[in-house]
């Protein structure tokens, strides 16, 4: 078999510090007055505080809560790509996702899931990251279509990412370009299953590997300026 095309470019097994440039690593500097200043450069780019891992409550309670969470998935109405054209059919008579406990919310604060409906341009990725960080834990990510898996149609585009799982944790992938509403519903069913089994801990994963995610994000987003209250 021939040489792996992408082997030399990245190595998934060493995620820790690889993408964090030296200047982004936390360090302590001493000012001319002799004062010690602790600098955490990555922090400047998004949150006031790092996200924290919130351990699940005791088993029985968590199980009950997960059941409720699974049956009440509030999806953020953020159409990031082509796939969002299939959201209206999902919410209308033909497919009626409401009966699966799926509802749309217009603000990230109230949403528990986000559908990344396809390719993400860098400009949108920036908003998606902000939106994702604004969503309260536990939060779930449903990735639609080839584009989120390995770049899809836009694998060689200079403005779209190739794989979503480097920037935010993904719970369920739905294959297709674009997936039909039925496939999306199947995605929701799978997501529910995952939540009920207590495996959908994307938010905690994000908090744990925060530096890695942030490093990846920072590698491609050059301009972190964003207006307040713009998702």
């Amino acid at each position: 078999m021939s040489e792996d095309k992408n082997k030399n470019i990245q190595d998934i097994n060493t995620p820790d510090d690889k993408f964090i440039h030296p200047e982004n690593k936390p360090r302590t500097v001493i000012s001319p007055e002799g004062e010690e200043i602790h600098i955490e450069p990555l922090r400047d780019y998004f949150l006031e505080k790092r996200p924290e891992v919130i351990q699940p409550k005791s088993d029985a309670v968590e199980k009950f809560l997960n059941w409720a969470r699974a049956e009440s998935i509030w999806v953020l109405g953020f159409g990031t790509g082509c796939g969002s054209i299939e959201i209206p059919p999902l919410m209308t008579p033909r497919f009626d996702a409401f009966r699966y406990g799926v509802q749309m919310r217009p603000t990230p604060r109230q949403s528990s899931a986000i559908i990344i409906s396809g390719y993400l341009a860098i400009k949108t990725l920036k908003r998606v990251i902000r939106v994702y960080e604004q969503m309260p834990s536990p939060k779930y990510v449903l990735a639609l279509g080839s584009c989120t898996i390995n770049g899809g149609m836009y694998w060689d585009s200079y403005n779209t990412i190739n794989r979503l799982d480097h920037y935010i944790p993904v719970d369920v992938y739905v294959a297709g370009c674009m997936p039909r509403p039925e496939a999306l519903l199947a995605g929701f069913v799978q997501l529910k299953k995952k939540i009920k089994e207590g495996r959908a801990e994307g938010a905690n994963e994000y908090a744990e590997k925060f530096d890695w995610y942030k490093g990846n994000q920072k590698k491609i987003i050059n301009d972190w300026n964003m207006p307040d209250y713009n998702w």
Binding site: I149, G151, V172, A175, C177
Partner: protein, 599 residues
Amino acid sequence: MALKDILTPFTAWTNVFKPVVTIKDPFNDRPGAERYRGFHFNDTSKCIGCGSCEAICENEAIDLVPVEGIETKDGDSGLRPRVDYGRCCWCALCVDVCTTASLRLTNEYTWVTENPEDLRYTPGVDVKPWDNNELGWKKPEPNYHFFGQKRVSMPELHPEQRDKSFIEIVKGYSKEQAILEADRCVECGICIATCPAHMGIPDYIRAIREDNIEEGFKILYDTNPLPEICGRICTHKCETVCSVGNLGEALSIRWLKRYIADQVESEDYKRILQSDGIANNGKKVAVVGSGPAGLSAAHYLALMGYSVTIYEQFSQSGGMMRYGIPEYRLPYDQIDKDVNYILSLGVKIIYNTNVGKDISLSELKSKYDAVFAGTGLHLGRSTRIPGTDHKHVYQSIDLLNKITEGKEIHVAENIVVIGGGNVAMDITRSLARLQNIKYGKVSIIATSLEDENSMPADREEVVEAREEMATINPGWGPKEILIEDGNIKGLRVVKCLSIFDEEGRFNPKFDESNTNFFKADMIVESIGQGMDIEYISEDIKKDLEINNRGRIVVDELFQSGAKWLFIGGDIIQGPDVIHGIANGHKAAVGIDKYLNTNI
């Protein structure tokens, strides 16, 4: 502000009493449409791993990977497409372009996973739930093709024009025709492995398409110093595996090669091939026989700087190409064109010198640093049925020799040719012409053991022979030549049921009850030729290893047991031109290696 405008909207509420239109079970109630483009399925037994799907995929979603249990063989690369659903966009161009119609998209469309690495699989190999789903996207009908399915028809002489003369039948492509034909190539490269000389077929076809004849010509000479000859009479094994041929007609690779060679004038050869001023390295090599193997070896040796001398038993070069193949297939001036170029590289030919009679092999050994023997198969084989010793029972090879040399031969009114190979067709058609000239009519029957579908002769040879009014009646085993009063009356044959036994050995079975009789005054046997290695004297022979089938054993560089003697061509492999060329080339490399490292 009409009251009506307030009240009419309330008609919407009538919907409350209408039935719900929601699909009850969206996962099962609604399979994709009959043509839906869902996930891939590949019929791996039909697939040949040509990679057209990979070439057309704009997303680089398809990789060709080796698959366990599928062997690489002629016409099948052993690779199978693997689809990355992180790339696929369901456009189904891969299905439309598929050269074997093995790939299709099923109408299954739901695939949900938590692990993105799952979304990559080899359709038809990795078992998926939709493997047995017959619906889905297949190549559309009618007349929907991504490349020409039909060959550009080759201009030929009409049977009436050709059946009395030995003028070349095939006229050759014009530029437009050649480009059109070259356009059909999908550049898979499967043909290369099948070609004994491993010619860069897709590359020179691309050169034709781009109208870059000189580039194409250079590519030809990389592996084949006899393009004019090969372009006419090559057995074109490449075309039998051409991936385009799976659904449509295979590319006329041979004619395209001929097209390139035809476009280049003799005087341009040296300029294009940049073969002027090769430094002589002072070593000398003798080549026995100026057939394809000999000429090929001489050519590549000359390019490496050796002084090459060819010993030829006949008065003209070319060996079997000239003396075995009728002129209407391969005009002699084309042989000369190729040979003259090789001679222009400094190769000398000594004609009318039979090694073994006029000069001994040991003498060559002493005069030269190495010897390459490509002496070919010049002994006709006989069926050895009763009556073959009659004077009007001929060997086809002898007749063809005589026709080439312009000697008078016996042409009877009714002739039967025994044999179904290309040589049999050659003699059949040559004799048909002579009959036509002599008697104004054709009465010749060619018969063979093999039935119509498994005759070793090229299909077009059979068709053309029939066009020239020869009768081809295959599937019969010769039993006896009936001779009355010293004159041949005909050939008695019985139906042949099978040729090889279960172990693949030659062991024909006949249906003795089903007999036939072909009336004839003259019988020509053309069931193959044998080699004549009398010229190798006993002291040399004792170094050689000869296997149980009577063939001389050589290594992969055609070096025989006697280190200085390289043997190639029909006596080793074949018989055909392209094997000879390949052997000659390899032997040239072998000689070079031998003389430089003395192993």
